[in-house]
């Protein structure tokens, strides 16, 4: 019987079946950061245990670090304390740490693929829900909580049940001005924010196959926003070309052997899925969220829907969303005034994202009332962008060019919304309070759409600007 990548990876990483009926699953790559690990290391110390496979564990600093002045100690003593713990734990337990001095620091989900740590057919875990990102290279990658981080540190394993598998096929051709972000927001809108609970998503179809690796990373990143703990794209020539030459990828003959193995792990023709969903990529337009979860979105030419259009059980959430956002049902999303523009995050903080935003930034100046931030996903992204002069394009247009980190995606550093500010954001979550202000508001969109909103001062259709 034809098998899927999920089947093959699961089998290869199964240590045993536990008495509970779950699988004891080996984790091939464990990525850690400062926010969800200090308690796990403390538990490890209390149990008198070591890190089982420090050579398969890598740490970075991303969530709490300031993106302006990174002089130590950080201005925020709580952030400084978290950094101190990460640095000390990495040293005490023999785990490599990509800190600022390495030139390789960045958001954990940006640096994993960038350094070639994340590879096809691996199992990857990290104490962060956007670990699904790494599925873009053909890995089975998922987010875990802190106690599970302790388990992986101590045993390199997790107790897990194998998820069901849904193939999400996106066919057709994307129009100009439509990006990977619009594809994943459309998928979440169609399948729902809890549609993926219990499933892994396999993204396929001609649109996905033609995507670059960075575009696939954006799609897989937001699997969790659709309820799916992991999402992946089968390894293909794009994957192999992307990994070749990366610092932690195999070299020479080993790379050729690796490529063969990676391809052999892809889903076989004729494999069956628990469910198949289909989307026509040709009809997708630039997408903007209007509500308080990533499923509440419309095309930029459309109007905000009425609560009555939603199923009965969702109408109260709908009304709550309209009240929080101060939107009226029937109002066009285009023209909604913004106060802040943010390009960055593990969803859209890579070089191609910055290029797309810069192309739009060239067309105007940031509106007077808008505060606009560009936050590269990693030090290497920042360096590459600076080498092509993108920072100068942004600065000339009135955007602030910052240092790498998670920044305003979740506002754990000083980059936060203030009061009721409305943000056009290339990040992944529009939850109430997400960007640091309990009453702040977030509109999710692609980096190009964020740049368009920044120079217009309101939600704009990037297709009209690029025309």
């Amino acid at each position: 019987m034809a098998r899927t990548l999920l089947d093959k990876v699961w089998e290869a990483h199964t240590v045993r079946t536990l008495p509970s009926g779950q699988t004891q699953l080996l984790i091939g790559l464990h990525l850690i950061h400062e926010v969800t690990t200090p308690q796990a290391f403390q538990m490890l110390k209390e149990l008198g245990l070591k890190v089982r496979m420090p050579e398969r564990t890598f740490a970075t600093l991303d969530h709490i670090i300031p993106t302006t002045d990174q002089t130590r100690p950080y201005a925020d003593p709580l952030a400084e304390e978290m950094a101190v713990h990460m640095i000390r734990n990495a040293k005490d337990f023999g785990v490599p740490l990509f800190d600022m001095s390495t030139g390789k620091q960045g958001i954990v989900h940006v640096i994993g693929p960038e350094l070639g740590l994340s590879q096809p057919a691996m199992t990857i875990a990290c104490g962060d829900s956007h670990t699904s990102t790494h599925g873009a290279v053909g890995a089975i990658a998922f987010g875990i909580g802190t106690t599970q981080v302790r388990d992986v540190l101590a045993t390199q394993c997790l107790a897990m049940a194998k998820p069901k598998l849904r193939q999400v096929r996106v066919e057709g051709t994307l129009a100009k001005g439509v990006y990977a972000k619009d594809v994943i927001l459309s998928i979440i809108n169609q399948l729902g924010v809890k549609g993926g609970v219990g499933y892994a998503y396999e993204y396929a179809g001609s649109v996905i196959e033609r995507m670059t690796m960075e575009e696939r990373l954006t799609v897989c990143n937001m699997s969790i926003e659709g309820g799916a703990r992991c999402g992946y794209v089968n390894p293909d020539q794009t994957t192999i070309d992307y990994l070749r030459g990366r610092p932690h990828a195999p070299v020479g003959a080993a790379f050729d052997r690796a490529s063969g193995w990676w391809k052999s792990m892809a889903t076989e023709p004729g494999a069956e899925f628990d469910h198949v969903a289909r989307l026509d990529g040709s009809v997708i337009e630039p997408v903007v969220t209007w509500g308080i979860n990533p499923g509440m979105s419309v095309g930029v030419s459309q109007r905000i829907p009425a609560p009555e259009s939603a199923p009965e059980a969702d109408r109260s959430t709908f009304r709550e969303a309209l009240a929080h956002m101060a939107f009226e049902a029937g109002q066009p999303i285009k023209g909604a005034k913004i106060d802040v523009a943010f390009v960055g995050s593990c969803t859209n903080g890579r070089l191609s994202d910055l290029r797309a935003a810069a192309e739009v930034a060239k067309k105007g100046k940031v509106a007077k009332h808008v505060r606009a931030l560009i936050v590269p996903g990693s030090q290497q992204v920042a360096k590459a962008a600076e080498a092509e002069g993108l920072h100068e394009i942004f600065q000339a247009a009135g955007f602030q060019w910052r240092k790498a980190g998670c920044s305003m995606c979740l506002g754990m550093n000083p980059d936060q919304l203030v009061g009721r500010e409305m943000s056009a954001s290339s990040s992944n979550r529009n939850f109430i309070g997400r960007q640091g202000s309990p009453t702040g508001r977030t509109l999710l969109m692609s980096p190009a759409m964020v740049a368009a909103a920044a120079i217009t001062g309101a939600v704009a259709d990037v297709r009209e600007i690029l025309r």
Binding site: G21, S129, K194, P438
Partner: protein, 198 residues
């Protein structure tokens, strides 16, 4: 494993939090995660929602001391932060009943010995209303029998076999269980081409 770890059932007063898709940022906003322990998390459970809404159930004296949280669909979606179940647990929650749960949140709850039981939309609406009317009545969450009792009513409540077996058997604190595999862990690793350098 000690019987102290067995989570066959829990009885306590209920507290309803109405609404779907209540995410972990709502349960505990990120700015409260800048702590190297979980100790203070309980103080911040639903902090912003409570400040914005004086009527929030977590503010209500009638629900003080409640330990069974009753929620809607997709509760705990979003971020993997274990700070969310830690905050609820340290506030006093020992069991959760709802329509559906964010998967990582569900797993984190199991790791803390907190059962998350799934009931039908009709049953959860009934239970939320019944608890609001009668906040001092006991809710019994029976993990092993997969049912929830309130007054005379018995509600069917589901939990997948794996986590249910972990809770009922007292093996949810999984490090010890995983360590029992011993050398089989390294043996599995050595069969993987990427571990041996292809």
């Amino acid at each position: 494993m000690s019987t102290d770890y067995k989570r066959t059932h829990h009885a306590g007063r209920g507290i309803p939090v109405v609404g779907n898709d209540i995410d972990t940022d709502r349960i505990i906003p990120a700015r409260f995660l800048k702590e190297v322990t979980f100790e203070t998390m309980g103080e911040h459970a639903f902090e912003d929602a409570r400040k914005q809404n004086p009527e929030h159930p977590f503010n209500s004296p009638a629900h003080k001391g409640a330990s069974v949280l009753v929620v809607g669909q997709n509760f705990g979606c979003g971020s993997s932060r274990e700070h969310a179940p830690q905050a609820l647990m340290r506030w006093g929650i020992s069991a959760i009943v709802g329509g559906s749960f964010g998967e990582i949140f569900f797993g984190n709850c199991v790791m803390l010995g907190i059962p998350c039981m799934v009931v039908s939309q009709d049953d959860l609406e009934w239970l939320q209303k019944a608890i609001a009317r009668n906040p001092h009545e006991t809710v019994t969450v029976h993990v092993e029998k997969q049912e929830v009792r309130f007054g005379d009513r018995v509600i069917e409540a589901a939990m997948p076999d794996g986590p249910r077996n972990q809770l009922v058997g007292g093996t949810w604190d999984s490090t010890a269980v995983l360590l029992e595999a011993g050398g089989a862990i390294e043996a599995t690793a050595k069969k993987l081409p990427y571990v041996t350098g292809f």
